[in-house]
């Protein structure tokens, strides 16, 4: 306690230099919190969007389905029977059937995925309700990214060509009945949604599905003939992307932190050199050298406490402001194919805050301690003369 009181007085007494160090360190602290908060906010938002639009609360895959291999679709389909049929009826799962197809919007040719989805499903946010059959035409739903790249509009017809279950080509015009907007590019780009029953009929895969999307009430229940994939698996790409981003930002803020720590280290070296007489006086007054070391270490490490206070003073209002308006994200991030909203609201978890505070305090303490070891080699008489080189 004594060390804290003395250290505080010494530090504040040192004036400008202290505040310079403290400012730099507080800046590093705020940047670390902000970066992490932004990524965590993105992570939470992206995960919940991806779950709501694409992955649900897990999926039951046909054993041959591989989301990275479109050719697996030829064989990855099976009739939804028994338990699966029962759960579908109860709206606990919703079947999705996928077929590779070619679309010809405005005379161009485009490889797409035709996805059959139940118009009455409530598990995914995809507005499948707008897939209403209209005088014999097949209604279709696309996302805004798909609409932009193909210049397709609501009410347009587009020719699609696909292979049925026997490998025979067939083609038909479908009618775009709705364009939806989602933060999740992976359910949008190059995809056309049609009613499940229509696709089953077009492909000759009656009652079949590629995978089944589960809702929240279904907790890892096994369904015979289907392989359960949990959210962790389904969101792996997204998590990896966030981790990569975290790695990148870590370099930036560790650099910033290092600069701040270097300044503290430098101040410590200098103050131990310049304050020899003071050190000698402490010893003459009855402090042991280890106690003097503690005093100087606490003093250096106190920079971090002041930095936390200063950082909170300007950081908290700043972050509240940012959280009110969100951070606008560039379009380019969207094109990378990862879920991202137009604005990210940073999220500051207690764990992240605590570990950042610990990182700052502990690293400041370590760099403060190293220079003080010199004190243990000082002879008190030399220190009092103040002429150790």
């Amino acid at each position: 306690m004594l060390a804290f009181k003395l250290a505080f007085k010494n530090l504040v007494g040192a004036g400008l230099r202290t505040w310079l160090n403290v400012s730099v360190l507080s800046f590093a602290f705020v940047v670390i919190v902000f970066y992490n908060g932004m990524l965590d906010g993105w992570n939470r938002q992206g995960r919940s969007d991806t779950k709501a639009w694409e992955t649900g609360n897990g999926q039951y895959w046909h054993p041959l389905y591989d989301r990275y291999d479109p050719f697996s679709l030829q064989d990855a389909h099976a009739v939804v029977t028994g338990e699966a049929a029962k759960l579908t009826k109860e709206n606990q799962i919703t079947p999705i059937l996928i077929t590779q197809a070619t679309a010809y919007p405005q005379g161009r040719m485009l490889n797409v995925m035709l996805k059959g989805i139940d118009p009455n499903q409530k598990i995914l946010m995809i507005p499948s309700g707008s897939l209403k059959a209209q005088n014999g035409e097949i209604p279709a739903l696309i996302g805004k990214r798909m609409a932009e790249s193909t210049h397709l509009q609501k009410g347009d017809h587009v020719l699609v060509r696909w292979r049925d279950v026997n490998g025979t080509f067939d083609a038909r015009e479908i009618l775009i009945t709705e364009i939806f907007s989602s933060n999740v590019p992976t359910i949008d780009v190059s995809q056309i949604y049609v009613p499940l029953s229509s696709l089953q009929e077009m492909t000759g895969m009656k009652d079949e599905a590629t995978f089944l999307v589960a809702n929240g009430t279904l907790n890892n229940t096994e369904i015979k003939g289907w392989t359960f994939k949990d959210s962790k698996f389904l969101l792996k790409d997204f998590d990896e992307m966030i981790d990569t981003k975290k790695g990148g930002s870590r370099i930036i803020y560790l650099l910033l932190l290092s600069i701040a720590l270097l300044a503290i280290f430098d101040t410590q070296v200098l103050s131990i050199f310049r304050r020899q007489k003071e050190i000698g006086t402490y010893i003459a007054l009855g402090m042991t050298r280890s106690r003097v070391i503690r005093l100087f270490t606490v003093e250096g490490s106190m920079h971090s406490i002041l930095a936390l206070i200063l950082g909170s003073l300007y950081g908290i209002p700043l972050m509240l402001l940012i959280n009110k308006y969100g951070i606008p994200m560039p379009k380019s991030a969207d094109q990378a194919g990862i879920a991202i909203s137009e604005k990210i609201i940073p999220f500051y978890s207690l764990g992240m805050l605590v570990s950042t505070v610990l990182l700052v305090v502990i690293s400041a303490t370590i760099v403060s301690y190293f220079p003080t070891r010199r004190i243990s080699k000082m002879k008190p008489t030399d220190a009092l003369k103040g002429k150790i080189q």
Binding site: K9, N10, G13, G286, M287, R291
Partner: protein, 241 residues
């Protein structure tokens, strides 16, 4: 009590390594100091005065021989024990005051007490009493930079005396002061020496200081040249301020 021996120096030699050869700063010193002495170590520059004070204050160790301070053999004390000895029993007064500039006068005087076990109220009382002794109670909240040299040295006397040590070691306490201030601080110390029976040992060249000493030990080239008792030293009453 008056004449009990509190410091005993036996065959003390102090050598410093100076590159190839050693330099002998103190040679075979034998001395005893009694409780309540007001003694000066006098001698030319380099004669070993500071070296001897430092050894008595257990800031340094003898090369040979022994210094026994309040029953403790200085060379056998651990770091911690010698820190305790200084903290409770020895006060230091330096030529350059060595006040801690970021602390107030009060904090400076309080410092040694913080290392001991006292309540806030006890410390407050002891510090204000010590500041009263040196006539600086009204400057308790000043910073050293706002004080004159004489006032600074009085603060450092209060700092040395606040814990009521048995021994005060003062190395050239008047060297940076003018005549009036020198008289003032030495009289203050003499008064405390009489009232609290504290042993004072000075290192000094200052004639003004010497007038007040009860005993003068002349050092030369690290040896004791003379050890004189001064029967008619001045007391604080001889001079008006």
């Amino acid at each position: 009590m008056q004449n009990s021996e509190i410091i005993k120096i036996e065959n003390l030699t102090k050598r410093y390594h100076m590159g190839e050869n050693d330099f002998t700063a103190l040679r075979n010193i034998n001395l005893t100091f009694s409780k309540g002495e007001f003694t000066g170590l006098v001698g030319p520059s380099g004669s070993g005065k500071t070296t001897l004070l430092n050894i008595i204050g257990s800031l340094d160790n003898p090369t040979e021989g022994n210094a026994i301070v309040l029953g403790n053999s200085v060379s056998e004390l651990t770091h911690k024990q010698s820190a305790v000895l200084r903290n409770y029993h020895i006060g230091f007064i330096f030529q350059t005051y060595n006040l801690l500039s970021v602390y107030t006068v009060f904090d400076n005087v309080e410092f040694a007490l913080l290392l001991q076990k006292h309540t806030v109220a006890e410390r407050q009382k002891m510090v204000m009493e010590a500041l009263d002794w040196v006539g600086l109670a009204d400057k308790a909240q000043s910073k050293p930079a706002q004080l004159s040299g004489g006032e600074c040295q009085r603060v450092s006397i209060a700092r040395a005396m606040v814990k009521r040590p048995e021994i005060v070691l003062a190395d050239e306490p008047s060297a940076n002061l003018d005549a009036a201030n020198s008289h003032h601080i030495i009289q203050t110390m003499k008064k405390l020496n009489r009232e609290l029976n504290t042993t004072f040992i000075f290192a000094t060249h200052d004639e003004k200081v010497m007038q007040y000493l009860d005993r003068i030990i002349h050092l030369k080239d690290g040896r004791i040249e003379k050890d004189l008792i001064m029967p008619d030293s001045k007391t604080e009453s001889h001079v008006s301020l």
